[in-house]
Symmetry: C2
Subunit: 345 residues, 2 copies
């Protein structure tokens, strides 16, 4: 094995990173081929894209449920269930953990993937980070794939630090199957992530065309005859190509469900990339666009909803009742996603 010691993954310990600094910058995507064997020792022989395929098949749908603990939206019964922080407010770590576990319990047998949004946890500093860790561990234990939504992206060694932390030999890697990335800083901002993902079999979703109202401002500018998002897609395609893996590569793409023509264009440019498709709920995306993100055989995409599932409408007098409402919202979302997928197949 070229890039040793991959089984030392103690949370918060220097050992996990410093002990193998010889390969943190091992430099070559090519070394990945040997390292895939390393993963076998963790009982996960499959790369992320393959795991997604299997789990979508097993659960019968390609839905991904976000975990976005926005306190402003939380049900009173959940807030009241937590011990106080001493100042008359619920303890942040307990609240975020309870919220995350409630969502996981409600959807674990329904959907293949969950997507915690890091911002809502980071917001509470170390207490939030501990909650994020607990929730992701719990999701893994329940058999879910975990996409951590962090939209990171930086240069050189900083990207390497993020990549190792979340996908490599850092404290988060055993709970995270896949990460979201921001592309503005160019190929060298993504390459360290691609290199580590190649080694460990983890997945990446690069923001290519997002679903927010202001996305078009930069992403749809026409440069050299095509939109900026198409340049980003090319960058992703180039990295995917270099990986040379069979089937889907580790280089996935975030493609908002906003315009069918864009989805088709990006799908054609990224035949080897899994799509993460947000925007179907609160952001007003359309089912028709989601259809165009799937392959001809109904694979190749997972469709994400956060708010619509996390915050069902109604008054709840018990956590069981709230959990049941989340489960019903997830069922309804799954049906929407399935109607797109079966329309393709």
């Amino acid at each position: 094995m070229a890039c040793g010691q991959g089984d030392r993954r103690e949370t918060g310990k220097v050992a996990a990173i410093h002990g193998r600094h010889d390969n943190v910058f091992c430099g070559e995507l090519a070394c990945g081929a040997e390292i895939i064997g390393e993963k076998g020792r963790f009982g996960m022989n499959m790369r992320f894209a393959e795991q997604v395929r299997v789990e979508v098949e097993r659960k019968g749908n390609a839905a991904c449920v976000g975990i976005d603990p926005a306190l402003e939206r939380m049900a009173g019964v959940l807030l009241a269930s937590c011990k106080s922080d001493g100042g008359g407010q619920p303890d942040a770590e307990e609240l975020l953990t309870r919220f995350g576990r409630l969502i996981v319990d409600a959807v674990a047998d329904l959907v293949p993937v969950v997507k915690p949004q890091s911002a809502y946890f980071e917001r509470f500093g170390p207490a939030g980070m501990r909650a994020l860790e607990t929730v992701m561990r719990y999701a893994k234990k329940k058999g879910l794939l975990v996409v951590l939504d962090v939209k990171r992206g930086d240069i050189g060694e900083t990207s390497s630090a993020y990549a190792e932390a979340y996908l490599g030999n850092g404290p988060w890697a055993e709970m995270v199957d896949c990460l979201t990335l921001a592309p503005y800083m160019g190929p060298d901002s993504l390459e360290p992530f691609a290199r580590v993902a190649m080694r460990t079999g983890k997945g990446l979703f690069v923001c290519v065309r997002t679903s927010n109202p202001g996305a078009a401002y930069l992403q749809n500018l026409i440069a050299e005859g095509k939109p900026v998002y198409a340049h980003v897609a090319e960058m992703v395609a180039g990295l995917a190509e270099r990986q040379g893996v069979a089937g889907y590569s580790d280089m996935g793409a975030v493609v908002g469900a906003t315009l069918a023509s864009e989805a088709r264009e990006i799908r054609a440019m990224l035949p080897k990339s899994l799509f993460l498709v947000p925007g179907l709920g609160a952001q007003g995306g359309s089912l028709a666009v989601v259809r165009d993100c799937f392959d001809a055989d109904g694979g190749g995409a997972i469709v994400s909803s956060s708010r619509g599932v996390n915050y069902p409408v109604g008054e709840f007098t018990s956590l069981d009742q709230l959990g049941e409402a989340v489960r019903q919202a997830a069922r309804s979302f799954v049906q929407d996603v399935q109607s797109c997928r079966t329309a393709v197949v």
Copy 2:
């Protein structure tokens, strides 16, 4: 006071955010005018840009020292100074804290600003976040301005969550004076940060033109007759304009020290923005470019170096010796920065 309760800032407590959810989405930049008064109660009447001006004047230079604890580069004497984590490696929280405090002690009376890079702390999960908190508190205590380099950017409520966490009423806000942002998702990804900064007097640096080798891939594409980075600059200018503050606005820009013509072009587009100029050391930026980032009166920019100051060359047998070498490296960097600034004035 329109957006009350700003003085409850207990780390990791829900109270700090949930107790004032009525104004997390208060919506209007305009409310900032009233809220500036709120800051007075913390003994910080000045906005970030004004604080920079005063501190640059007081310290006699516009240098910013990064705090990038990359374990692979750390001096043996520092590693050896930490207690063991039980597995024969130094304890991560202690190591990161010691490193950060050593840098702060070495440069506190020399430079006005430090810039911790979040990635190197996040890498260690909650232990790293605790270290980041300690280091930033220490820097504040020593009278330094703190720019937290996180390059965040997301949509709608998620950006609001980040903004409140780091600049508003979240657990990080009392240690952070300014944040770096990524622009790919468009104006609505930056606006929540602008809104919170306006309210609290904090600063922002949006990545306009970065200094990494691959930056040009997207940033220099020509769209509608100008490079993509100029479109980003326009977006920043638009937000700065809306703020309507006197002097420099809260909307600063990251402008790499790579090409003088670009620096001049961006300076002309962003007359109200402070520049954060990286790239002078390891990334090969030039002093001539740095000159073009300053105003005619030698204000308007801070120049950043991380690796060159953090990791002085040599063998060190004591922490004092290491600290002295960091101090010498900082002195040398300060001289370089000053030579640019005085050439302007």
